[in-house]
Every structure is written in C-alpha cells, then in structure tokens.
C-alpha cells in the first residue's frame, strides 16, 4: 500500500513540473503540456473492512443461523449444541461465499471464504482454551473459596463428608516439595548442559545434543516406569516424594536443555567475539556476556519447563504413591501432588469428591497460569534489552569500573566517576587520557 501512495505522489510532482512555463529559447520547443485533471489513483484496499464487507458478514451470519434453526427444528431432527454449531458454520461459509460473489470476482470470493475459515480456526482454538479454563474454574468454584480447602488434608475426611471439611493442603505441600527438588536437579544441570552444547563445539557435544533431542520424545510415563523399576523395585527404596521428583526431573531435563540451548544460540556472536577480543577467557565471556544477555530467555525456558513439570501426572502416578495425610518428608512415605490427587478424586463416583477434583485441578491450573504469565513478562524483552532498573545497575557498575581505573592509573587525580553516562558529563572538562603509555 505504501508503494501505491508513493506513486500517487510522483504523479502530482510530474503535474507540477508540467505546468511551469519553460523559456523556449534555442532550438527545442517544448510542447505546451496541458495540465489534464488526472483522477487520483484509487488505492486498492488489501486489508481493512468496508461497509459492504460488514453487510455481507452480518447477512451471512443471520441467514446461516436461520437456515440451521430450520434444519434442526423442522427438517432433520438432530440434537446437540456441537452439531448445531458445526452446521451453522458450514452454512455461514456457503452463504457468505454467495453474498460476496454477487459483486466480486472468483479470486476475491475464495480469498474471503478462506480468510473466514482461518479466522474461525483461530476462534475455535480460543474458544476451546477458554472453555477448558472456565469449565474447570466453574466446577470447582464452590470449593475454591473455603479456607479449609487449602489448609487441611483428607486424612479424616470421608467421601461423603461435606465440603466444609478436608482439603488439599497435603497435595499443595507435596507439589511444592516435589517440584522444588526437581528444580534443584534440573535447572543447574540443564543450564550447564545447554552452556556445554553451545560453548563446546565438537563431535561429542553434537552427540549429546542428538541424544537430548531423542529424549524429548520419551513418553513421560516411561520416565515414571524407569524410576519405578530402578529406584523402587531394584534399589528397594519406598515410594516417596524424592522418587517422584527424580522421575519428573528425567522428564523435564530434555525440555529445559532444549529450550535453553535455543535461547543461548540466539546470543549475538559479535558480543562474544568482542569479549574474546578484549582478552577475556571463555568462562568470563560465558559468565559476563553470554548468560546475562540471554537471561530473560533462559528464565522463560526454565519457567515453562517448570510449568510442564508441575502439571505432569504420569511420572508421579507411578512413583509417589498415594496418601491423604500431610507428609513433609520427601524421603519416606508416599507423597501426592495436585495433579495426582485430581486424578484420584475424579475416579471416585462421589459428586463431592469430583467437585474437589475440579477445584484441585483449578488450583493447579492457576499455579501454571501464574508461572506462565511470569514467563511472558520476563520473556517479553529481546536478549540484551534492559529494563530501566537493569540499565541503572549497568550504569552504576560502569561508574564503579571507571573509578577503579582512575584509581589505578592516576591516584592523584580527582575521581571522574560520575562523569560517565550522566547528564553532567557536558558540564565537566574533558577527562585526561589515563593511558598515556599506550598512545603512539
């Protein structure tokens, strides 16, 4: 569209030139160009929404709804909301296509209908997500605002007891302990492995990367089965929070390594090269350039990995056992997570337990949503883009460095530390060059 506008501008300039009287001396006589009134170029709209579009859309919506009511009510007695929506949608596409074809050509009709299809797939995804979130919240709503739901456990609460008794305190505690241990294992190991994959480039690291990629394909239940067979059956430990945490770690590790690897690969090479060129060894470069540059991306990778780990049920199902009492010892006795207790709650036929199950799922979901939004906040910035507080910290560090340099090179000179990067820099005299010996 910009191109079209520019060409309109060019036409106008040509007109201006043509109207100007030229002196007709010499051999050449310019033809007297009559400034014809050129109609302004009408811009072809590639996007946007005209009134006709709106009319077509509304008309198609109304008529498809009517047709579907007719079909459902009179002609073919079908049932179910889902069927109604599907039929109405198909009708809408047909009617919309017909309406557009009244005053547009075939490519436009195809374009409009396909745009409507793509819009509706995106809408469908959104509706599905919000239906999942709101259905879970709505079913658990009655329990979510009871304080005992968060502080008590289920040890003395029977399946027929009212909702004012019992809660999921044990599951909340278990989730936090298990994910805490899993974080303690996976985050240092995962980040170190991602740094290894990026800093060491040889056949061995290539091999490790391939194996990690392969392990992202490991179905999560197999991680649980592996720990169940080794830790519990062969080594003879009991089912515990620690076993569940290890199983969760095996599942989370490839996810964290892979996404951290991608983030680290995005760190601009010239930053690292500049650091090397200044003589920094590799570990300084990684610590002072690579990791700080990728910090927000790494945080996102880690948090999303944690969100996956918190919500995972299958590895915990095989390794944690089940308990209804609060257990804060990850080494002994079974422990239960939010996802696992949801699974056991809804397997019971009791309505009140199913409601507790939904409320537990809602708590888990809210936890994951909070983690997700923290990750989005952190990941919103590109690598190297600093928040105002970070920028302030960087400036402060630079000032301190300058003060240090000054102190080393010219101890007698007054310090010039505040001069750098501040507004008062203009007011001060230019600083003397401290590196006298390095000038030619």
């Amino acid at each position: 569209m910009t191109v079209v506008e520019e060409s309109t501008g060019a036409v106008e300039t040509a007109e201006d030139v043509a109207v100007v009287d030229r002196p007709t001396g010499g051999g050449t006589t310019l033809p007297d160009v009559v400034a014809t009134s050129v109609p302004p170029n009408r811009l072809r709209t590639l996007s946007g929404f005209s009134r006709a579009d709106l009319m077509n859309l509304v008309g198609a919506l109304i008529s498809s709804a009517s047709i579907t009511f007719l079909l459902f009510g009179v002609l073919a007695p079908l049932s179910g909301t889902l069927g109604f929506v599907v039929v109405a949608w198909l009708m809408f596409l047909v009617v919309y296509g017909l309406l557009v074809s009244l005053d547009d050509t075939r490519p436009v009709v195809v374009d409009k209908v396909m745009s409507a299809v793509m819009l509706s797939t995106a809408l469908l995804a959104g509706i599905a997500l919000f239906s999942v979130i709101f259905y879970t919240l709505a079913k658990g709503w009655g329990v979510l605002f009871r304080w005992n739901f968060y502080t008590q456990d289920m040890s003395t609460t029977g399946p027929t007891d009212p909702l004012s008794q019992g809660g999921i305190g044990h599951a909340i505690l278990g989730t936090l302990i298990i994910i805490g241990i899993a974080i303690a294992i996976t985050v240092p190991l995962g980040l170190a492995a991602a740094v290894f994959l990026n800093e060491v480039l040889n056949r061995f690291s290539q091999f490790v990367r391939t194996v990690v990629d392969a392990m992202t394909a490991l179905p999560s239940i197999l991680a649980g089965l592996f720990i169940f067979a080794t830790w519990i059956l062969i080594l003879g430990f009991e089912r515990s929070g620690l076993a569940a945490a290890i199983a969760t770690s095996i599942m989370m590790l490839p996810i964290i390594i892979r996404s951290a690897d991608v983030v680290l690969r995005l760190v601009p090479g010239n930053l690292k090269e500049a650091s090397f060129a200044l003589g920094a060894p590799q570990f300084r470069t990684v610590g002072n350039v690579t990791l700080p540059t990728a910090r927000s991306g790494l945080a996102t990778a880690v948090i999303l990995g944690i969100a996956r780990g918190i919500g995972e049920t299958a590895p915990v199902l095989l390794t944690a056992g089940y308990t209804a009492t609060i257990n804060n010892d990850p080494l002994h006795n079974p422990m239960v997570t939010l996802s696992l207790s949801t699974y056991y709650f809804v397997k019971s036929p009791q309505q009140s337990l199913i409601q507790r199950g939904f409320a537990t799922a809602a708590v888990l979901m809210i936890l994951v949503l909070v983690l997700f939004f923290i990750a989005r906040l952190l990941g919103g910035r590109q690598a190297g883009q600093l928040s105002s507080r970070q920028a302030k910290r960087v400036r402060a560090r630079s000032r301190k460095d300058l003060a240090r340099f000054d102190a080393r090179h010219a101890p007698a000179e007054p310090t010039l530390a505040p001069a750098i990067l501040g507004a008062e820099a203009d007011a001060l005299p230019p600083p003397p060059v401290p590196h006298q010996e390095s000038s030619p």
Partner: protein, 354 residues
C-alpha cells in the same frame, strides 16, 4: 603475472632502477602459518571441565534410561518373539500378550488427534502470520503458548465431563450417516432409534483423540507459525504486486515454501499425541479388541496400559510393560526424528533479496 624486481644501484641496466621482468614468477615462499595456540587459563580449564561433566551426566542419564528400557524389555520380548507384535490380548500370567491392539489404539488416538489438530493449527498459524493485525497477533501467540502450558489432567477433566457430553451427539450423527464406512460403524448402536442409548458412543477413541488434539495443536501451531513467518518477504510482496489476493499469496508462496515445516510440525504433534497418558486414561475405557471402530466405546493405548497395570505387574509382567513402552518409544523416536528432518530441510532461514 608481473613481478617488479628491485635492482641494486649500479647493476647492468638501461639507467632504470627497476625493470619489469616478464615470465614465470619465482617460486613463492610458502607463508609460514601463524601458530594459534590456546593457553587456557585455570578458570577456563575448570569451566570446560565442569561443562564436559554436565554434558556427560546428562548423556549418562539419557542413555541409562534408554539402555535400561531395552534391557528390561528383553525378557518379555524373548519369551514372546514375533507374536508380541501380533497378539491382541494382554494376559502376562498366561504368557499370552502382545501389542497389536494397544498399538493400533495408540495409533488411532494419535491419528484422530492429528487429523483434528492439524487443520486448526494450520488455519491458526496462517491467520497469525498473514491476516491478523499486529495487536491481535501478540494476543493469539500468547494464547497458543498458554494452551501448551495447561496441564494435561485439566484437558482430561474437561474432555471426560464436558466435551464428551457434546461429542456423543456428533458421534451418533456420524454413525447414522457415515456408518457404512467400517471405521465409523459401532457395534450395538441402533441408528434407527433416535432415542437410543448414547453410552455406546462414550469413552471412545474419537473422544480421547479430540481431547488429545487440543494438547498437540499448540505445538503444531508454533512450529508452523515459525516456518510461515520465515517466508521471504520479497516473494510475498512480489505476489501482492502482481495482484494476488491474500489467499492467493498464501497458496502460491507461503504453502509451498513452508511444506517441510507443515509436515514436520504435524509429525511433532503426532509424536506428542502418541505418548499422552493421563487425559486418555481418564476418558478411554480399557478394551483389548483389535478394532478400527473409532466411535465405539472402549480402546487402549500403551501409556494407558502402563498406567493401569504397573501396580499389579511383577517381574515378568513388568518386563512386558517395558516391552510395550519400548515399542512406543521407538515409534515416537522415529516420528520425532523424521519431523526434525523435515523441519530442518524446509527452506528455513533462506533469504531472498527483497
């Protein structure tokens, strides 16, 4: 090649200090390459050492899982031989078990999931990259990422208690009108009776597959979005300049460019769908029939089998579960590596001058 040779003063010559000598140049001295040595400081050696160590630990864990899986599965595989692949029952005590029906069930759930998720993922990713205004785009990207973060048990609950109630009507409609196709037929259903029981349609592979579709759709969407956004802007603008409509540009430029990414993203979703456990375990009711009837109640998948049976399994039974898990892992691995090959092979990163 001409070489300017400087002559010593007083050398024979026509009063010139230099003369141009034509002919073959003298053998150039091979330039001595500067030896680049890397004297690592102590900190670097520590860093590299620990870095290698973490790589080794990760490698060890991952390989240990794979090797242990294979090792444990050998018992059962040796006992069953080829009949492991063809038997439908799972009765380890009687020594009669195989993965025919559960592998078929796993595959069908995954196929239904991908069949539902793939068009939605493609439409959504195309909408995000080609149609949506910038503000809507950011919102949609966040929404899709959020869908990936929602725990699978939440999807499972939604599917079992909310979606199933709506899906059975659709299942009956499909069965009534398309029931002549063998995979849409349902044993025990009576399409002529509009008030017939709907329970024959519950807990089916179809319902489980659609719920799993919600879980794999975000992965597919994000891979496809990535690939669609790499379509060279020059080629797209060229197509617009030739008068293409938006759909025309998508069809002529975007889709052919992104074919590898579309296939790869779809297969990555397939890999995820194959391993999904808890949502399937909540929805599907276990049966070991070898059947293609996806609308009919009952079915089984490998992960559901493991989740159901691990606690009663002992010794040999556990080995049989490991064998089933190994088979699933092998298939997922093949699917995932094929997918990454497709994604890497697509013209990702290719630039056009535009």
């Amino acid at each position: 090649m001409t070489v300017v040779e400087e002559l010593a003063p007083g050398a024979p010559g026509p009063g010139a200090l230099t003369k141009v000598r034509q002919g073959p140049p003298p053998e150039p001295r091979a330039p001595e390459p500067r030896r680049i040595s890397n004297n690592r400081v102590k900190g670097d050696r520590v860093f590299l050492g620990s870095s290698y160590l973490s790589g080794l630990v990760v490698l060890f864990i991952m390989v240990a899982v794979g090797v242990f899986l294979t090792f444990e599965a050998l018992d059962a595989l040796r006992a069953q031989g080829a009949s492991f692949l063809t038997t439908s029952e799972w009765e380890t005590d009687r020594g009669k078990f195989g993965i025919a029906s559960i592998m078929l069930g796993t595959g069908l759930v995954a196929l239904v999931a991908v069949g539902v998720a793939m068009p939605i993922a493609m439409g959504t990713s195309l909408f995000i990259t080609n149609i949506a205004p910038a503000k809507v785009r950011g919102f949609l990207v966040g929404m899709v990422d959020l869908m990936a973060a929602v725990p699978s048990i939440v999807y499972g609950l939604w599917g079992a208690y909310f979606f199933q109630g709506m899906a059975v009507n659709v299942a009956r409609w499909i069965n009534t009108w398309l029931g002549w196709m063998p995979w849409f037929s349902v044993n025990g259903a009576d399409p002529s009776n509009p008030n017939g029981s709907l329970t024959v349609y519950t807990a089916s592979i179809f319902v489980a597959g659609v719920v799993v579709a919600l879980m794999v759709m975000p992965i597919q969407t994000s891979v496809m979005r990535e690939v669609f956004s790499q379509v060279p802007i020059g080629e797209r603008e060229g197509a617009y300049a030739l008068g293409g409509t938006r759909w025309g540009v998508i069809r002529i430029v975007s889709l052919p460019f992104a074919r590898g990414g579309i296939i790869g993203g779809t297969m990555l979703g397939l890999g995820r769908a194959l391993g999904e456990t808890i949502a399937v375990a909540l929805i599907l009711s276990a049966s070991f029939d070898l059947k293609f009837r996806i609308l009919e109640s009952g079915g089984n998948t490998v992960s559901k089998l493991i989740a159901d049976q691990y606690s009663e399994a002992s010794g040999f039974g556990l080995s049989a579960l490991f064998a089933a898990g190994l088979a699933l892992f092998a298939i997922t691995l093949i699917v995932n590596f094929t997918a990454s090959w497709f994604v890497a092979r697509s013209r990702s990163g290719a630039e056009s001058d535009g």
